[in-house]
Symmetry: C2
Subunit: 410 residues, 2 copies
């Protein structure tokens, strides 16, 4: 799909839905500073105090065709130390290198850890761009709060991340679909075995160049609806980006693969309400029981990760004003019935890594349900709404379509 | 309570319940080797290959009166590295020191980590003893399996732990109630950001001398029944000793403290079925609806940690054959009703750190329920069954009562 097509579609959106489009530009409300934990005498993170110590032995760049997600890291990392007594120290940009931690450190024992994932894109003019980074900072503060890890002013950390990007500028690959994946991470550095809140912590950001998720065009995936394992539950921590939510997902993922499916469809309850797909949010585009065209994603009831791609898709499709857009519960029985009645139009997962991933098949209670892709193009691996969302977001992320969701680094 | 009293009680138990006592000695069935992950060409852990490199700068011992749980560590640690390709390497005993890990290591991002807790006791003859260590190894293998971390032969690791204890012998404090807490830990050492099974891992054991949990006699605790947060869920990982289960518990714990209670009472479902107390298993001793004296603990339905102290208490009290012993669901409504009808006799938590902890009060839906302690001794902070279980286990752990639950190191 060409960028011209994408832009014309977004232009169409602007014409058709001026109110909706305003929504797209109203989200800077989320960029306000998060609360800083603790007494005001303890220091917050201040980008103005950032100290740089650049490497004298820069690594060779890996040819971008050879990049594997999360395997190669840049020359530098950003670190900020925190203690209960002093608060946050000076942000540091320093050569990428190992962390030295006591074996009693509570990050190894009790999973005091949370993280974020966002990308830096190189636009057609060579400028580096971030996409809604303040949303990642907001979510990271929510995760930190849940674990009694220290919070911080997200705007300051975004400024520090921009400095890291300036230091590692050559690592942001050129080309549509390429990006530099950023991984802000917050861990306890407390060296005692009691299960209690950490008195010291480390915030760090590492960066890994990566290629397009779909280098040769979309590849639709198959899902296995896991009836034994539950990713999250009411009163749990499924809506926070904690390490704790991830390691337990690997067993079910391997089991799904062993059955011949690519990812887990996480559901909950006796009705098998949809939750997430692998590590992505889930969207269903269908003709609902009332005959309306509707895009549905599970609501943020505490069990679902509040994805930034999810949020962007909701705002974007609402601004289109072409079909109903709902955050509401939807279950496998409804999916199965819609499938039988020809009302199921598209299903896709959404996340930072892939933007969107089309789904072509779901195994539920021993039966495979085929999910339509593009009825007008049998060779396509994505439905028209899925592809259009992908192209629209892509154009926003790479600055091809102007918006204040895209933040220029320099 | 004197050790004589304790011994006579155990002797009484033997007289009264020979069949039950046999049970106590039949648990070595659990000591059989756990499955070793992967192909047989990959090496298992072999204690015979253990290599020692002892410190040349031993630390000064901390006076035992000054010990705080989990703050002081011994001179050495045990480490065993694992990779997918080669399996387990040679066990190493080496000076206690920091772990050097890449910031991309998946233990920091996805909580690929599990642990165990057990103690080494110094008996009256100066010998060092472990208590049912094979049970810890069995549980650790179950935790590892759930995270696709490597499994191992528990008997071999127990032999390695014995070697660590020989190297750090002087760190096992003398005196009843003192012990050396051992912390086997298994973490991923995989340095990539994809969420998938680890291709490298590190098993390590560190040791921390600690004092009695109740240095001046029992102190009963108050519980706050948390209705907002749920520790574990059917289909989750509450029955595994994963780091993932711990960090999320700190927020609810702080909230309980802020309300004036000491620990969280975890419940689940609309009936508030009892789950755990803080990080302990929970026991209720009562006169049930049928008028029977009964010791109840929630069943191992997948949401409850299979505690080794829990298991020991069940075997021990069943061997007494004095009251009904049940693993079954019990909820707060039943507790409240029993409290009102004077049928509630004792409640206690059970775990490695404390052995047992009496409960004196539970706040449920805004109302405080007083839990009886010892009706014959108003100054006592523990009910008679709670105290008797404590003394009986204590005598077994310190080798005052002979049993094959206690393993002599040398």
């Amino acid at each position: 799909m060409s960028s011209t097509l994408c832009l014309s579609r977004l232009a169409g959106m602007r014409r058709r839905a001026p109110d909706g489009f305003r929504l797209l530009h109203s989200t800077t409300r989320c960029a306000t500073a998060a609360n800083v934990t603790g007494a005001s005498t303890r220091a917050g993170i201040q980008a103005s105090q950032l100290q740089k110590s650049l490497t004298t032995t820069p690594k060779a760049l890996v040819p971008k065709e050879e990049l594997i997600f999360g395997h190669v890291f840049t020359d530098h990392m950003l670190t900020v130390e925190w203690t209960t007594k002093r608060g946050w120290g000076s942000p540091q940009i320093k050569p990428y290198g190992p962390l030295k931690l006591d074996p009693s450190c509570s990050v190894f024992h009790y999973a005091f850890e949370c993280f974020e994932g966002l990308k830096a894109y190189r636009d057609a003019q060579g400028k580096i761009r971030l996409f809604r980074p303040e949303k990642n900072m907001e979510r990271m503060n929510n995760s930190a709060e849940r674990l009694y890890l220290p919070q911080f002013d997200g705007k300051e950390v975004v400024e520090c991340i921009k400095e890291l990007l300036r230091a590692d500028r050559r690592w942001v690959p050129e080309g549509r679909g390429y990006s530099l994946y950023l991984r802000p991470t917050l861990i306890s550095t407390e060296n005692t075995l009691g299960v209690h809140r950490a008195n010291s912590a480390l915030l760090y950001v590492i960066a890994s160049p990566c290629g397009p998720y779909f280098p040769t065009g979309f590849k639709a995936i198959s899902l296995y609806c896991d009836e034994s394992n539950v990713r999250a539950w009411p009163g749990g921590v499924g809506n926070k980006k904690l390490g704790a939510n991830y390691a337990p997902s690997v067993g079910p993922q391997v089991a799904a693969e062993n059955k011949g499916y690519q990812q887990v469809l996480w559901t909950i309850g006796k009705d098998h309400e949809l939750m997430e797909v692998g590590t992505m949010n889930m969207f269903v585009f269908w003709r609902n029981e009332n005959g309306e065209r509707e895009l549905v994603t599970p609501p943020l009831d505490g069990t679902i990760l509040p994805g930034i791609t999810r949020d962007s898709i909701l705002e974007l499709t609402r601004s289109w004003d072409e079909f109903k857009v709902s955050e509401r519960k939807i279950n496998m029985k409804q999916i199965a019935r819609a499938s039988g009645e020809g009302r199921l139009l598209e299903i896709f997962g959404a996340g930072t890594a892939c933007v969107v991933t089309p789904v072509s098949r779901i195994c539920f209670q021993g039966k495979d349900y085929e999910i339509p892709l593009d009825p007008n193009n049998p060779s396509s691996q994505a439905g028209p709404i899925t592809a259009r969302i992908y192209e629209t977001l892509f154009a926003l992320q790479y600055g091809e379509t102007a918006s204040d969701w895209s933040v220029v680094v320099d």
